[in-house]
């Protein structure tokens, strides 16, 4: 079948969306950008194609009588098995790479115990991996780096302690190797892995094997790929396959909510205010200049400064009872102002509430420069997932523009890639 793919190479994450020719979304994929846009584009595209296969399976199962109640569970099982196979495959690559890196004067005479410690660590990782992909297990991240990293720290330290080796030795190898593994193009054979996933013991094959295999045999033809986002020039595409992220966000928001007229996108290093016409075509836009004050990256620094996870900032800010006024959204000054407020005895949640308000105030200024907020208003980008930012935005939109329908899609992080995929469809069909 013909697949139209949009890839959004952001500064933090790279997203891909696969569409059919009727502009129905078939699959979505995301990965960390790892400062290597070539690999990030390949990985995100593969992830979106994996998701596309799952969509095709869902459709195939819907056609099988008697599977209506169990289809979702079957699909979830199939995906877990697939992810597990994929994870173990990458783990094996990581192990080979680590062992290959045991060389040089630092390891002279100690190669054997170090390799043995690594082998034992990876054996434990493989053993534990089944738990990570068991039903009901909540993974803190879907990125290989995060999943493997946490486990490696935990198991590697124990193995080294038992073997009387310094953990630093293998940690150093791991740090070097994970970068190599992450930057390698993803392994192929998605279909083969799905067949193995299907054949893993946990799935009842009697009803699903035939439809799943039939869906797997549908060839996914990459008809047209459009790239967007900051890393777009790195894509190995001809120029006509590259679209500006502003146009893609405008069109993506229009596809999600056809009555969108104003879009606010707060990403890792950009804040954009975009006006679109009834067809989703950009009429006007404003964005921050080179200074990334008040963007997603700013929240990242704040999280580091407070020794918290990025996802924890919003919920903590929601507990605030008093708003502290924060003057600067400058990432460079953020740490200083934060410590200043803490030194004055302000509570963390109140400071965070103030920080979120400062970010949204800056976004409001960009929006007003772009021509204000019109009904309907769609908020996209990673920061749209932050409930404290959304709360401040709702307040300020109401104060400044009255009753405006505010749309926030749970998949808003894919808005740019969605627009890119829609441009891919248009490029071929128009």
């Amino acid at each position: 079948m013909r697949c139209f793919i949009g890839i959004d190479l952001g500064s933090t994450t790279t997203k891909a969306v696969v569409m059919d020719e009727n502009q129905n979304v078939l699959g979505r994929g995301i990965t960390n950008s790892r400062s290597n846009y070539d690999t990030a584009a390949a990985v995100s595209k593969q992830e979106a194609l994996v998701d596309t296969r799952l969509t095709l399976f869902r459709r195939a199962l819907e056609a099988v009588p008697g599977t209506a109640d169990t289809a979702e569970a079957v699909l979830a099982g199939l995906e877990r098995n697939f992810r597990h196979i994929q994870f173990v495959e990458q783990l094996e690559d990581l192990e080979r790479t680590c062992i290959g890196n045991v060389k040089g004067p630092r390891f002279a005479g100690r190669e054997k115990p170090v390799i043995e410690a690594l082998a034992e660590t990876f054996r434990r990782l493989r053993e534990h991996s089944a738990t990570q992909f068991a039903p009901g297990f909540r993974r803190k991240s879907d990125f290989f780096r995060d999943l493997a990293g946490g486990d490696f720290m935990h198991n590697g330290e124990a193995v080294c302690r038992e073997a009387g080796l310094a953990f630093d030795l293998i940690l150093n190898i791991y740090d070097k190797s994970i970068i190599e593994v992450e930057n390698r193009p993803p392994a192929g054979d998605i279909e083969g892995k799905f067949v193995r996933a299907l054949e893993m013991g946990s799935l009842d094959q009697s009803l699903i094997a035939a439809p799943v295999k039939a869906a797997l045999s549908i060839p996914l033809e990459e008809t047209y790929v459009v790239g967007t986002g900051y890393g777009r020039v790195r894509l190995p595409f001809p120029k006509e396959h590259i679209r500006s992220e502003i146009l893609c966000h405008g069109l993506g928001a229009h596809i999600m909510y056809p009555r969108t007229r104003t879009v606010l996108d707060i990403g890792g290093q950009d804040t954009k205010g975009i006006q679109v016409d009834p067809a989703g075509i950009v009429e006007n836009f404003q964005m921050n200049d080179r200074c990334a004050a008040g963007c997603g990256r700013y929240l990242g620094y704040i999280a580091d400064e407070m020794n918290m996870g990025l996802q924890e900032l919003g919920p903590l800010a929601m507990q605030s009872t008093k708003q502290v006024r924060i003057n600067s959204t400058c990432t460079v000054f953020a740490g200083a102002e934060l410590r200043d407020r803490l030194a004055l005895g302000e509570k963390r949640e109140d400071i965070l509430a103030g920080l979120h308000r400062a970010i949204i105030l800056r976004a409001m200024s960009i929006l007003s420069r772009a021509g204000g907020v019109k009904d309907q208003f769609t908020f996209t980008g990673g920061v749209a997932k932050n409930e404290a930012a959304v709360r401040e935005l709702r307040k300020l939109i109401k104060e400044n523009y009255g009753d405006v329908q505010i749309n926030i899609n749970p998949d808003s992080i894919y808005t740019g890639a969605l627009g890119g995929a829609a441009f891919a469809v248009r490029a071929v069909l128009n």
Partner: protein
Amino acid sequence: MSEIVKEPSMLLQKEMIARNYEAITSKHETGRKVSSTFVPGNLNELLLCFDIVNNLPEINAIQNGMRKLSGNYIMDAEKSGHSEDVCTYVKADIGMMGAGNIAPNGKPFPKPDVLLLSYTGCYTFMKWFELLREEYKCPTLMLHVPYEGDGHSTKNMRDYIVKQLKEVIIPGLEQVSGIKFDIDRLREALRNSAKAEDNLVWVLESGKHKPSPIDAYFGGVYYIGPIFTAFRGTPDAIAYYDALRTEVQARIDTRQGPITPDGSNFNDQRYRLVVEGPPNWTHFREFWKMFSDEGAVVVASSYTKVGGMYDLGFRHDADNPLETLADYCLGCYTNRNLPTRVDILAKYIEEYEADGLLINSIKSCNSFSAGQLMMMNEVERRTGKPGAFIETDLVDPRYFSAANVKNRLESYFQMIEQKRLGTAKAA
């Protein structure tokens, strides 16, 4: 990076500029007097009457920007106490003075004999010369040019300028130079000016052709060079604009676009733009390439009018020598109020059949950048053509963010393209 290819007229101008720098830096040998003065509202014809060589600090800052020297000069000036917000032309000049005050020909700039401040629409100019006066301890002559706040000049304003010319400027220049003012010499220079101005206007208006034989911004900054600086009123300028006109006519005849820095004729012109604001000088070539690579040609610009709005009909008039100098100073683009600037830009969009207005807003120029967003919105409203806004700086390389500027430009061009597709569908 490959060798930059220039049009023949650009090479001719380069020789002229080199000769002027030679005249400035050899003042001790030749005994000629040197003035420092600014581009908008400069009184070059008057200086010629006194054999005074004209040195323009903004042009020196631009030279230093294009030669990648301004960054260090600016940081040196900041170390000596000039804040980050101060005009970077000023800081590049101050920094250059601190670093030996070396002219582009490698010789030190001599102390000027007079500072001629003939335009005050930009108050930074006044402060800049205060700093220079402190440094050089030389006479300063100030011609106050009233701002056209109501959108037009009045007889009173003109009389006020003529009075200052008679009572302050001319006697001051006589004293500095030791040469008696000769109004016929001024008339002769003004006649020369008008001849060159006719050809300049012809060249700038050639942007109305399709394809445009000129880029009225990146090429335009070269085309205005002689007339905005030390050559207006000279036979050299007449010769330059004759040569330029011939060059542009040849491109019109063969339907060729301007020559881009990589040496090819820019014929694949997909977007026609009007641009407001000066270019960035530190990344001039890279900045130009962002336009030409995408097929965007600038057909008209306001920056090429900061030293005189000749395309609106003004010519230096030998029959009214002092009055014409007054009219010239009053009419520079930078002395116009915001509604007039909007009128001019909207008119350009219509007359040059442009796809829209792009504003390059200058970070460190508060007086000129103020109001530009409002101007863009108003021009969009009147013309129905989309506008876009980018931010760079004159000569501070730290303020040029290539990825950000490129992102906005590409978005703008693709937006124009999408709008065209939308319009084509609706039709």
